[in-house]
């Protein structure tokens, strides 16, 4: 909210400087967002004298002027304004001046063959009014070369403060002054709210409230006043200047008065041209009517919105915005002033539904002092009579205001309990009474009556805040939080720690950690197994951010694509983040997923003298996944690698990692070529996904002691075997069979060669394994070794259907 220092001083008797006031406002919770000189944007404009103005030789509508701007030289300026004439005093902008109304900086130029070094300005160009019919006309006695803001008295200080949603009472300058006075920065000046004597019966009767019992009813009390025979028109300079200073456009006196009261006292008003009202004015809810509002837009009003209507329909959307039909104009002679009290929640609801942002809604949804309804109407009446003349008719008032009349039982010790601050009982009492709270009692427990303008204060903690903001939070002594009396227990749970480890493990494998959006396009969500309605946003910010991601891969692949488009096709990216299998808490899992593109393998991308660049593939994905599982302490020997590719995977180059029949730990593979094409990414993409939440918690061990280390004194023995078998036989089954041949002696089995080719037969492959035997209590004899070897051959040939290569 903006107001000027002058305006504040209308309500606050103070000698404080703008700087002191600004500091105080911030410290009492009315945060200053800016303190500016009112004419800051217009500093560069000067008063000037048009010494001569002659017809432009090449353009009918232009004049060539010689301008004296106080520099001692005459400046050539081409001007298109019809009122640019010899002898005129006006406002001039030198070349290099920013013209706010045109959003441009004026330069030196040549207009149709005539030099032009600056600009004579209209009010619109200075954003002072809508008037762009001609350049500004200053009185003949205006000085030359003076800053226009100084000449026009626009050198005042403008405060811009931000009002928190609980402080409806501070949405007017008067309320701000009340807070400052309580803080000790001056004395609040009273306003004359006394009733204005009436000159007769009101032609508009008190408005009937036409609501059924079960309808939402936004109106509480409606105070109206018919003012007869007024003379409207532009408001006096002081009023126009005051409104302009805070960014409001003056309209006419009556409308300007409603704005003055709204901004000055936080008490929104509305004015109707009484002669445009047809039939009876009533209060009722809308019936789906279209409504032409003062912002020149048409709104459809529904049954939850209270309107002021006549026989023809809504005149005003109550508490939010008036209508064009009964709007007050310069020609209005009979005006009906409204000052009404509304239900804040219903105003907020109607405001949200229509999307109308207005000064009235802003205040009324934060709640306006119910004690100001009739006084506000009297104040408006007095102002209109003063500035427009006319005769006031009897007030037309209906309905009842709602006063919460809150009384808080307040133990004074509460201040110390919540803030740690020592404040004496007298000081607390003084602060609260300055803020308008009435305190009863003398002991440690007091009864505090909350003033009508502070409905936000309902309990003890609220009163503590009132005391604290007046004492100053900076005066609260800093006190260390007591340290724990023991070594802190672990800060991270197993799941939280896993994410951290997974990140570091993947980064250590040369992948960059990305953080991508939690929401992706519906198409991408559907491609990766998501897209259900419960995972969609009702109000997405963009069409490619509509669905909660079912996988981290779409975001990573999109990231890789953006990098490729910038000329970096070799990318290794991973993310550790949440994915959504449903809208339920248990549907959220944390995945660690990654992609490698181009030649971004573990060994690094690109060509190198040490070897050629290999394209990424399924083995990179599998290795990344295994590295993470290993880093997380998962026994790789115990997980199953199954040839069951993910839906996004190349069907023959991808697999699933499982732990038993129920638990899937992740997937790895190359992206399906068809999907690559759809996602517009070139070349192979190696990808993996790990469901970190699926990894079981480690078993609670009774002891941290590791099992005893059993080292054999005998050398291990190694034997090689090669088998020919069908191409489809899995390596896992070979290894399992070989290992099972003699569990006591066989320590390890490795595959050291795999090849296919015509010499091993069509649809066949050769697999060579190395079996390592570890004797435990004696050196093995040749017979014993031959026996184990025979068992290995028998087990492998039986399981695989292959045969030993001779």
């Amino acid at each position: 909210m903006k107001f000027t220092l002058d305006w504040l001083k209308e309500h606050l008797e103070t000698t404080a400087s703008a700087e002191e006031i600004g500091k105080a406002l911030t410290m009492i919770g009315l945060e200053v967002e800016g303190i500016e000189s009112q004419g800051k944007a217009l500093e560069a404009f000067v008063t000037a004298h048009v010494v001569s103005a002659e017809q432009h030789p090449n353009a009918d509508k232009l004049r060539v002027c010689k301008v004296d701007a106080g520099t001692g030289e005459l400046i050539d300026v081409v001007c298109g304004a019809p009122n640019a004439r010899t002898g005129l005093k006006s406002v001039f902008a030198f070349p290099g001046t920013y013209i706010p109304g045109k959003d441009m900086t004026i330069g030196k130029g040549n207009i149709r063959g005539q030099v032009s070094n600056g600009m004579l300005c209209s009010n619109a160009e200075l954003e002072l009014s809508e008037d762009h019919d001609g350049i500004i006309e200053l009185p003949e006695d205006a000085p030359i070369g003076m800053k226009y803001v100084d000449y026009a008295g626009m050198d005042g200080v403008v405060f811009d403060i931000s009002i928190t949603p609980n402080r409806g009472d501070a949405t007017g300058v008067y309320g701000v002054a009340r807070d400052l006075a309580a803080f000790g920065l001056g004395t609040l000046k009273s306003t004359d709210f006394s009733p204005v004597a009436s000159k007769g019966k009101s032609p508009i009767a008190p408005l009937p409230h036409q609501f059924s019992a079960d309808e939402p009813k936004a109106i509480r009390k409606f105070a109206g006043r018919y003012l007869k025979g007024i003379k409207n028109g532009p408001s006096p300079d002081w009023l126009q200047q005051r409104l302009r200073a805070v960014g409001l456009r003056p309209i006419n006196t009556v409308v300007d008065i409603t704005n003055l009261v709204s901004l000055g006292w936080g008490r929104p008003l509305h004015a109707y041209d009484a002669d445009k009202v047809e039939g009876q004015m009533v209060l009722r809810n809308a019936r789906g009517e279209a409504f032409d509002a003062l912002d020149n837009k048409v709104y459809t009003l529904d049954e939850t919105m209270t309107v002021i209507a006549d026989d023809k329909g809504p005149l005003c959307l109550g508490g939010i915005m008036g209508g064009i039909r009964s709007g007050v104009t310069d020609e209005t002679t009979n005006v009906f002033m409204e000052c009404a009290s509304w239900d804040p929640d219903l105003i907020a609801q109607s405001g949200r539904k229509t999307g109308i942002v207005s000064d009235a809604r802003y205040r009324l949804e934060r709640s306006v002092d119910p004690a100001l309804t009739e006084p506000g109407m009297e104040l408006a009446t007095r102002l209109v009579l003063e500035l427009c003349g006319g005769e006031p008719m009897e007030p037309a008032t209906s309905g009842e205001d709602v006063f919460p009349d809150t009384v808080v039982e307040f133990p004074l010790s509460e201040v110390k309990r919540l803030t740690g601050l020592d404040v004496s009982a007298d000081r607390i009492a003084d602060i609260l009474s300055r803020l308008g709270f009435a305190m009863d009692g003398t002991g440690p427990m007091r009864s505090v009556k909350v003033p009508s303008w502070r409905p936000d204060v309902t309990q003890k903690a609220d009163l503590v805040e009132e005391v604290m903001r007046m004492v100053g939070v900076d005066n609260v002594p800093v006190e260390p939080l007591p340290r724990l009396t023991h070594v802190a227990p672990r800060m991270l749970t197993t799941i939280q720690n896993r994410r951290r480890i997974a990140r570091r493990a993947l980064a250590a494998r040369g992948l960059d950690e990305a953080v991508t959006w939690s929401f992706i396009s519906h198409e991408d969500a559907t491609r990766f197994g998501g897209g259900s309605e419960d995972r969609q946003l009702a109000n997405a910010i963009a069409s490619d951010m509509t669905d909660m991601r079912p996988s981290l891969l779409p975001g990573l692949i999109a990231g890789a694509r953006r990098n490729a488009n910038r000329g970096f096709a070799d990318v290794a990216l991973f993310e550790v983040g949440q994915i959504f299998l449903s809208d339920q808490p248990e549907g959220q899992h944390t995945y660690a997923s990654g992609v490698r593109t181009g030649t971004a393998t573990l060994n690094g991308a690109g060509r190198h003298w040490s070897g050629k660049a290999e394209a990424v593939g399924v083995w990179d994905a599998k290795a990344d996944l295994a590295a993470v599982l290993d880093a997380l302490g998962v026994d790789i020997e115990k997980v199953q690698v199954l040839p069951e590719p993910a839906s996004w995977s190349h069907p023959g180059r991808g697999g699933r990692i499982a732990l038993g029949p129920k638990v899937t730990l992740g997937w790895f593979g190359e992206l399906h070529p068809a999907l690559s094409a759809e996602l517009d990414i070139e070349g192979p993409v190696a990808a993996f996904e790990i469901d970190l939440d699926a990894i079981p918690e480690p078993r609670k061990k009774p002891t941290r002691t590791k099992p005893a280390l059993d080292l054999s004194p005998f050398q291990p023995v190694s034997r090689d075997f090669a088998f020919v078998m069908d191409r489809g036989v899995s390596a896992a089954s070979i290894l399992k069979a070989a290992r099972g041949a003699d569990k006591a002696l066989i320590k390890d089995v490795g595959i050291f060669d795999v090849f296919e080719g015509s010499h091993v037969g069509e649809g066949k492959k050769s697999v060579a394994i190395e079996v390592i035997l570890q004797p435990k209590d004696k050196t093995l004899t040749d017979e014993e070794i031959d026996k184990v070897s025979a068992a290995v051959v028998a087990a492998v040939t039986k399981t695989t259907g292959g045969e030993l290569r001779k």
Partner: protein
Amino acid sequence: MSLEAQIETLRSELSAAIAAADNEAALDAVRVGALGKKGSVSALLATLGSMAPEERKSAGPAINGLKNEIAGLIETRSGGLKAAALEARLAAETVDVTLPLKPAPTARGRIHPISQTIDEITAIFSDMGFSIAEGPDIETDYFNFTALNFPEGHPAREMHDTFFMKPGPDGVKKVLRTHTSPVQVRVMQKTNEKPAAPYITPAMDPPIRVVMPGRTYRNDSDQTHTPMFHQVEGLVIDKSSHIGQLRWVLEEFLKAFFEVPSVTLRFRPSFFPFTEPSMEVDVQCDRSGSEVKIGEGNDWLEILGCGMVHPNVIRNAGLDPDVYQGFAWGIGIDRIAMLKYGMPDLRAFFDADQRWLDHYGFRPLDLPTLFGGLSS
């Protein structure tokens, strides 16, 4: 030929042959030819047996002298040849050590600044005895607003630019959490039910000290706002914690986080529905240069919101606000990361631009700890 002449001839022939042998094999052939069973020197030695004792007396030492001399020459020559062979091998094996390596994986991979910042925050608060608590991103309207004392229809709700979920099968109104504060309620609110998922922190009994980092969402986008961002919430609940201690916690945290000897904070009364009294906190900084410097200067920068947990929130969580009290605060993780590390544009955080990640990211083993320093 006299024996002397024979010895002299052999000596000169064999010396020449030894000198001429340019490899071990040739040298060995000379050795066999001279000293082997049928070698020339051996043959000469064999003649000793048939000599008269007188003759042998003088011939013996002469022939043995030759034998020893030749054996010595061969040994010397052999040593020279071995050294030369090694020399040649070493020369042949010489490489250009200035050839560049491929960078190691650990030199290429990077940790995102957000993760690094969360790890830094974690390190600091672990020292103060806090633990990490978490809740879901898709929250019920109840946890995100109602339990946090946001009345239905209150303008404060609207200030949050909430993302709403389309209705799901259970008919419960859901939103993307607009702040990490719902986790506060989840942590405080005692129930008999197990958390719905293993990542959700179960409710705990006071005294409570938790920090709650996570993703948050608001329907807002411009240079300084993205529809997704990160917050860390802090919560202390016990029977005595007050604003004086809140000030201490925040001062100590910011000092440790920004790694400066002191910070000056300005607490301004403000409004949040879930705290009372509520405050916003500005940190003193220097904005005169191209970067913002915390801990010096004459400017203020708004950095966080905080307050005493609202009695209604404590009550909503099933605790008695006349017995239990405490404070909470919320900080933008992205924002303090931008400030600390001088990253100008928030939107770049979520773009996965490899150049940005390589520049602003952290090495995999730069793990922030209090004992090793938050940043090196």
